[in-house]
């Protein structure tokens, strides 16, 4: 089966071509089936390869399959080739599995949309690029996927391009991502310059021989991390992700929560060999992750748009993943990536179901008491919220707890403190969201009649809810041999330090503590939004300045506008009107004008009198002859 690994990204590509080329003339049911089946086939093939892979002995679990040589130029060689190892298999499973569910959900969610075929072809193209990204065996092919997902993100955020805000958001995502891609590209150049190859299997063994803290590795990893910051929406390049909510909700679920934004985390984990040798980069990764986690979480408290709350929560959770990578717990980062994919996709799809049921309403202030109208959505949403808040035994509990645990035992007490506070805030704002949306008094517009979504949408919700509940059990801690996830992933990752063995009581205490933190967050949300709904107003009145600052997202967008966007716009304006129009056009037009002016005077010599010409000839002849004689 492993020889057919190239089919995994190919199926969605075929789906993209069919839907993109002839989808317009096909009925919607066919378009939806083609789109979902293409991704579903990839998922089934991935499962088959996964099962075969499990039979391999542990030390043989890294298989390269070269399809063909793509570029061969002197010492530079890049192939279209796939690397099957535990890391890429986990990513392939998560991406294709979650994508299949979201495709099925989309058939229901988008059934009234004009651009149905366009939507599915973009979605398939995205899955193709993402699968390429995670399964590539070299940096260059990975970069192709990296750019591909960026392109699809742009296309899908601006899917409703008639809306100015949507097309602006698409452009913003693309431009901000380019800043990161620039860093990633520099990193690849530097890797080739240093190691003479871009293949993972050649670069990493060579890199492992470098001394700890080597300058060139630090530079490479920092450049790569810049790429990850852009793609995974970390400080300071996170601004595009909340705006990306302009796209259709299933897109937010697929691209901006479950898969694409995790590409940065995946890339850092893939390059763990490089990162562990660059302590400065590791600290940078951990610091950016921890700061982003708490920063985005605080913004999440104040937002009223249901999707924006989830967007900031995504940014915050991605911060956790980077924190895990930064403290050397790459497996925990990937573990959280996987569980997060389950529950965050579920949260977004659930919010999509709410929006669908309310005919497009996204403001939580116009919701409330939806529990009885959307029971399936409510219960699945609640499970996902418990998972993200980190309540035992839901998926998020295990992964988040592992990250907190590792950041503490690796000695990053400050980061641990920040992450714990962020966990408290996460529980608070997520339950604020649940209480405002599903509980309390109904604030729904009386003309709107909420209704539950069709089975095409609720069945994926239920499947994801199942995963959000049990998904974390594969990484069960404490008991020896129970953490199958870590055991499976370990060969693909270079750990920072040797496993810290701490007593079981310490680990259990940590777990109880983080549970208590989450429970405190939930209780506070209950107090604020269920028991005393007037309490939030009072708190806001006490700290109006801070509230205003957070509510306006710390004015970061405004600061970026003033500090970066406007100067660039003004500079371009100057180059356009000042330099191009005046100097360059001026020089061209000026020379034309000068020539025109000269000839307007010179042409007076052309009198049209034959005899004046004859006289000129005579004078010329006399002059030439005179010169020849006289010299």
């Amino acid at each position: 089966m492993m020889d057919y690994v190239w089919l995994i990204p190919l199926f969605p590509l075929i789906g993209f071509l069919i839907n993109g080329l002839v989808g317009k003339s096909l009925p919607k049911s066919v378009v939806g089936t083609i789109g979902s089946a293409a991704v579903g086939l990839s998922f089934l093939l991935t499962v088959a390869i996964f099962l075969e892979f499990l039979k391999l002995p542990v030390d043989a679990r890294s298989v390269e399959k070269v399809v063909y040589t793509w570029i061969a130029s002197g010492p530079f060689k890049a192939s279209v080739a796939f690397l099957i190892d535990p890391l890429s298999l986990i990513m392939l499973l998560v991406v294709s599995g979650v994508s299949t569910l979201i495709h099925i959900y989309s058939i229901g969610y988008m059934h009234e949309d004009e651009g149905f075929y366009r939507y599915f072809s973009y979605l398939n193209l995205f899955v193709f690029a993402m699968l390429l990204l995670v399964s590539a065996n070299n940096f260059l092919l990975m970069f192709v996927g990296w750019e591909g997902v960026g392109l699809c993100s742009y296309l899908l955020i601006g899917f409703w391009y008639e809306k100015q805000s949507a097309s602006d958001a698409g452009k913003k995502a693309f431009v901000v991502n380019r800043i990161g891609d620039f860093g990633f590209l520099l990193g690849i150049f530097l890797i080739f310059w240093t190691f003479g190859s871009v293949n993972f299997t050649e670069v990493f063994p060579l890199a492992a021989k470098y001394p700890m803290g080597s300058g060139v590795l630090t530079a490479i990893t920092l450049f790569l991390f810049l790429g990850a910051i852009g793609k995974s929406a970390q400080l300071p390049l996170y601004t595009w992700l909340p705006d990306a909510m302009e796209g259709p909700t299933p897109v937010s679920a697929l691209i901006h929560a479950a898969t694409m934004v995790t590409a940065g985390v995946f890339m850092v984990a893939r390059c763990s060999t490089l990162y562990v040798l660059a302590p400065i980069s590791m600290t940078a990764v951990a610091a950016v992750g921890a700061l982003t986690a708490i920063y985005a979480a605080t913004i999440g408290i104040t937002q009223f748009d249901i999707k924006r709350v989830l967007a900031y929560s995504t940014v915050s959770q991605l911060g956790y993943m980077f924190l895990a990578c930064g403290v050397g717990a790459f497996t925990s980062g990937i573990f959280h990536l996987m569980t997060h994919a389950f529950f965050k996709a579920l949260l977004f799809l659930g919010s999509g179901s709410v929006i669908h049921g309310l005919h497009g309403e996204q403001d939580m202030r116009k919701m409330g008491d939806l529990k009885k109208y959307l029971p399936i959505t409510y219960w699945t949403f609640l499970l996902a919220t418990l998972a993200i808040a980190g309540i035992f035994p839901f998926a998020g509990f295990f992964s988040k707890d592992e990250i907190l645990f590792h950041s503490l035992v690796s000695g990053h007490t400050v980061f641990w403190g920040i992450a714990t506070v962020a966990a408290f805030i996460t529980a608070f704002y997520m339950f604020r969201l649940v209480f405002m949306t599903f509980h309390g008094e109904s604030r729904v517009d009386p003309h709107v009649h909420p209704h539950e979504s069709p089975p095409l949408m609720t069945v994926p919700l239920m499947v994801l809810a199942g995963l959000a509940v049990v998904g974390g059990l594969v990484g069960f801690p404490i008991i020896e041999g129970a953490n199958k996830f870590k055991e499976f992933l370990a060969p693909a990752i270079t750990p920072l330090v040797h496993e810290v063995h701490s007593p079981a009581w310490f680990e259990i205490t940590m777990m109880i503590f983080s549970m208590a933190v989450a429970a405190a967050g939930i209780f506070m949300a209950y107090k604020f939004y269920m028991q005393k709904p007037e309490l939030p107003e009072k708190v806001i009145e006490k700290i109006p300045v801070i509230y205003d600052l957070v509510y306006h997202k710390y004015y970061v967008d405004e600061i970026y506008d003033a500090a970066v966007v406007e100067p660039i716009k003004n500079g371009s304006d100057f180059l356009w009107h000042g330099v191009d129009e005046n100097v360059i056009d001026g020089a061209v037009n000026g020379s034309a004008t000068t020539v025109g002016w000269l000839s307007s005077h010179l042409r007076k010599l052309e009198t049209g009198f034959v005899q004046s010409y004859a006289l000129a000839i005579l004078l010329g002849a006399v002059l030439v002859t005179g010169y020849l004689i006289g010299r």
């Binding site: 052309e606 009198t607 049209g608 005899q611 004859a614 005579l618």
Partner: protein, 101 residues
């Protein structure tokens, strides 16, 4: 009796100068044409004079070339003048000034 070369040249220069003056001051294209022919023949005369002086036939050969070319030129030139006359009713060069700025 031998005619000195200076006589030839003096006559040639005189004829050439008359031709030039004719070209420059007359307004009838036909007369200008005749003046051009006179200049050509003035040059021919100079050739003959030098050929006699240097006792070489090259000059005489050149005269034949000039005569043939002049004959061809006259044929073309007269045809042009006739065409102009048909078109405009006269051949005064000061009226033929449409080819100008």
């Amino acid at each position: 009796m031998v005619v000195p070369v200076q006589y030839y040249l003096a006559l040639s220069v005189a004829l050439f100068a008359l031709g030039v003056i004719g070209v420059l001051i007359r307004r009838n294209a036909l007369v200008i044409y005749m003046s051009i022919e006179m200049m050509l023949n003035a040059v021919n005369l100079a050739f003959i004079g030098f050929a006699d002086y240097f006792k070489a036939v090259d000059g005489q050969m050149f005269v034949f070339f000039v005569l043939t070319v002049a004959a061809a030129e006259v044929a073309v030139g007269l045809a042009l003048i006739v065409a102009i006359f048909r078109n405009r009713g006269d051949v005064y060069v000061d009226n033929l000034n449409i080819l100008k700025w």
